[in-house]
């Protein structure tokens, strides 16, 4: 039986090789893949240079800002630019839709600004060609064109009956076809991912992207699962359809429905079900909570009174001017920490909203495997929303460390009542090391994308359910 499967697979491959239209499509897709990878690589290298220059410049600005009061330095602040990960050349993900730089200063956690897509015009909304797009949408279409008449033609030409009369089971025929068509897409994806791996090793900027090798292997794995599931589904539709035309139409509707319509409707539905407030309201609520406290006994005045009392008690003095530290520094840091607490609280609510919105899409991935592979691909390339959030969190941690260091210096080394008279210089600025970022370990992704993993797994498992069993040979 194994021999029969291989013979059938070989025949299918020969058949595809003899169809000029399919060969042309194959070449076009391979060319698009190569072009997108190359273009992605150039964009990546360009941005790498731009970002490094900018980051170095800002670092120099911070170190060379001269002597001044540490709190003024905390307001002078510095900048962090969102780095491009190496795998962004494969899958741009949300890079064009998330801000690229953030200003870090005291009191105000600023938003990331300058989404690349702003000012690009309408055309950008049609998408950018990336290798991921080719593998997610275009390659399945090629598979669709190759497979839609695989069974219907056999039925129409009587060869299926001939095969069965030779003692070949439907199962063997099905598996032979599945093997052949899987080999076709593997002919594209295997060299591609090997090339990507080599590129990754040569590019060698593992400083930002953790587990590069593992990520590429996982990418290969999920894309293979996706494409095998799609191939199987196509073959199965051909098997079940009464004519080639019906098979083609059904598959095209599936491809468009799950690749274009459902991703859009689910994201839009998510937004409708879990709407966001305006940034104005969002900021107002935060400012309100900072001023009046999140609870009745956390108002600014009450906190200040409590802080004073605590320090007077701790150092056993009667007034703050008698403290061995500059109370202003303490007060500023306390204000900072409370503001951080409020910001964290509100941002957590906002993040939860985003999560709920995105969950609608994740759920839909059970019907539309394209959504599963799209989300997982972005996650592995570290160009997804969670990677961005992680970056945001780490810049915020860095900001807080910077502010804390400045306020601490002010508290410990300046006197109560002096402000502009107290100056520090490079020695303090140097203690804040340059911001370095590394993406979280790839294993951390699984918690966010378990639905997508489950969806892909189910689609692949469907192969075992849909393949005709060995004793089913009734075709009439």
């Amino acid at each position: 039986m194994k021999n029969q499967i291989f013979l059938i697979a070989q025949k299918e491959l020969n058949d595809v090789a003899r169809q000029n239209s399919l060969k042309i499509l194959f070449v076009i897709i391979t060319a698009l893949l190569g072009f997108s990878l190359y273009a992605g690589f150039i964009v990546y290298k360009q941005q790498l240079t731009i970002l490094k220059t900018a980051q170095d410049e800002k670092r120099a600005e911070w170190l060379d800002q001269g002597d001044k009061h540490p709190h003024i330095a905390a307001h002078y602040g510095t900048f962090v630019f969102k780095p491009k990960t190496l795998l962004s050349l494969f899958d741009f993900g949300l890079d064009s839709y998330t801000g690229t730089s953030v200003y870090l200063e005291a009191h105000y956690p600023h938003e990331f600004m300058f989404r690349p897509v702003q000012g690009y015009g309408n055309m950008i909304r049609f998408g950018e060609l990336s290798a991921a797009l080719v593998l997610q949408l275009l390659l399945p279409l090629l598979i669709l064109f190759i497979t839609f008449q695989t069974f219907t033609k056999e039925k129409e030409t009587g060869t299926l009956k001939l095969l069965l009369s030779q003692g070949v089971t439907l199962r063997s025929v099905y598996l032979g076809k599945l093997l052949a068509y899987s080999l076709i897409f593997l002919m594209i994806t295997v060299p591609f991912f090997i090339g990507l791996y080599i590129l990754g090793v040569l590019g060698n900027t593992r400083a930002v992207l953790s587990d590069l090798g593992l990520r590429i292997i996982l990418l290969f794995f999920i894309y293979t699962l996706y494409l095998v599931a799609f191939t199987n589904f196509s073959i199965w539709i051909s098997f079940k359809s009464s004519s080639a035309r019906n098979a083609l139409l059904t598959l095209l509707i599936f491809w468009i429905g799950t690749g274009i319509i459902l991703p859009k409707t689910s994201a839009n539905l998510g937004e409708t079900l879990y709407p966001l407030s305006s940034i104005k309201k969002f900021k107002e609520e935060i400012q309100n909570d900072i001023k009046n406290g999140m609870t009745a006994d956390e108002s600014k005045e009450k906190r200040l009174a409590q802080l004073k009392a605590r320090y007077l008690q701790k150092y056993q003095v009667d007034s703050i001017s008698q403290l061995p530290l500059n109370f202003q520094g303490i007060r500023m840091q306390e204000g900072e920490e409370y503001a951080n607490k409020v910001n964290d609280f509100h941002n957590a609510i906002l993040d939860e909203r985003f999560e709920h919105q995105n969950k609608v899409g994740s759920l839909t991935s059970f019907i539309a495997p394209y959504i599963a592979v799209r989300n997982l691909s972005m996650a592995l390339a570290a160009t997804d929303g969670y990677s961005f959030n992680d970056f945001k969190e780490k810049t915020e941690t860095y900001r807080r460390h910077l502010i804390r260091t400045m306020n601490k210096d002010m508290a410990e080394n300046s006197h109560f009542g002096e402000f502009y008279e107290y100056k520090v210089g490079r020695n303090l600025w140097k203690t804040i090391s340059d911001f370095r970022y590394s993406t979280p370990a790839v294993t951390q992704l699984f918690q966010y994308y378990w639905m997508e993993f489950a969806s892909l797994s189910l689609w692949v498992l469907a192969i075992f359910i849909l393949i005709p069993s060995s004793n089913k040979n009734k075709i009439l």
């Binding site: 003899r18 030409t157 030779q166 004793n471």
Partner: protein, 233 residues
């Protein structure tokens, strides 16, 4: 070789085949005559295990087809109505493929010889099947049957669409196989071919085998009369 015992096939209320009893021996060419929908193809499909009987049994070489679907196929060969083969492959490649599937290991010369023996012109052997006429495709089908060495051949409307010459060539092939003691069951409309080639004739109407005769015991005119009489009742 081929036996049907009270073989019946129903699709809901519709009876496609009603208690067929049949026995075909080695060297017989049994022609099933009848209009469209009479049950001829159903009979063949039952022997091939493409469908399950509602009741009754079909036997190939004494084995119940339903219980031994794969085993019984080793003795069977089949040429469907309107066999088109794999259009992008040559006749030779098609033969090699199907032979390979049944475990055959004939080399190129042997396969070519089989095709020539089956009447295919030498310069068409390596041409793509898309350029073949129906008659030529039938010959590839016959070559396949020979390659398999099958003792039973099932044919569904083999001469429909063939010109008289091709039809004649095909009949001669069948007679050759008959000499080799192959049992042949042929569903057809072609009274002339049935009388000319067949050893036995069965007339089917609305799923029932209404008449059965040996060909040498009836003249063509009588056959025609009987056929028309049954069709008009």
């Amino acid at each position: 070789m081929l036996e049907a015992k009270d073989l019946t096939k129903k699709y809901g209320a519709f009876t496609a085949l009603d208690t067929l009893n049949l026995h075909i021996r080695a060297g017989d060419i049994f022609c099933l005559l009848g209009a469209n929908g009479a049950g001829k193809s159903t009979t063949i499909n039952l022997f091939l295990n493409f469908i399950n009987p509602s009741s009754g049994k079909a036997f190939v070489n004494g084995l119940d087809v339903e219980k031994n679907p794969q085993k019984t196929k080793q003795w069977l060969s089949y040429i469907p109505e309107n066999l088109q083969l794999y259009q992008n492959m040559t006749g030779l490649e098609n033969l090699r493929f199907f032979c390979g599937l049944q475990g055959g290991n004939q080399n190129q010369e042997e396969l070519e010889e089989l095709l020539i023996q089956s009447g295919l012109q030498k310069d068409f052997i390596k041409k793509r099947v898309s350029s073949y006429s129906k008659g030529m495709r039938q010959k590839v089908g016959v070559a396949l049957a020979r390659a398999k060495g099958a003792k039973i051949l099932l044919l569904d409307e083999p001469t429909s669409g063939l010109d008289p010459k091709a039809s004649n060539e095909f009949s001669e092939l069948l007679l050759e196989l008959k000499e080799k003691k192959v049992a042949i069951l042929m569903a057809t409309h072609d009274l002339f071919r049935a009388k000319d080639t067949g050893t036995h004739i069965g007339i089917m109407k609305e799923g029932i085998l209404v008449d059965k005769m040996e060909t040498n015991q009836v003249s063509f005119q009588d056959l025609e009369q009987k056929y028309l009489r049954h069709m008009h009742v």
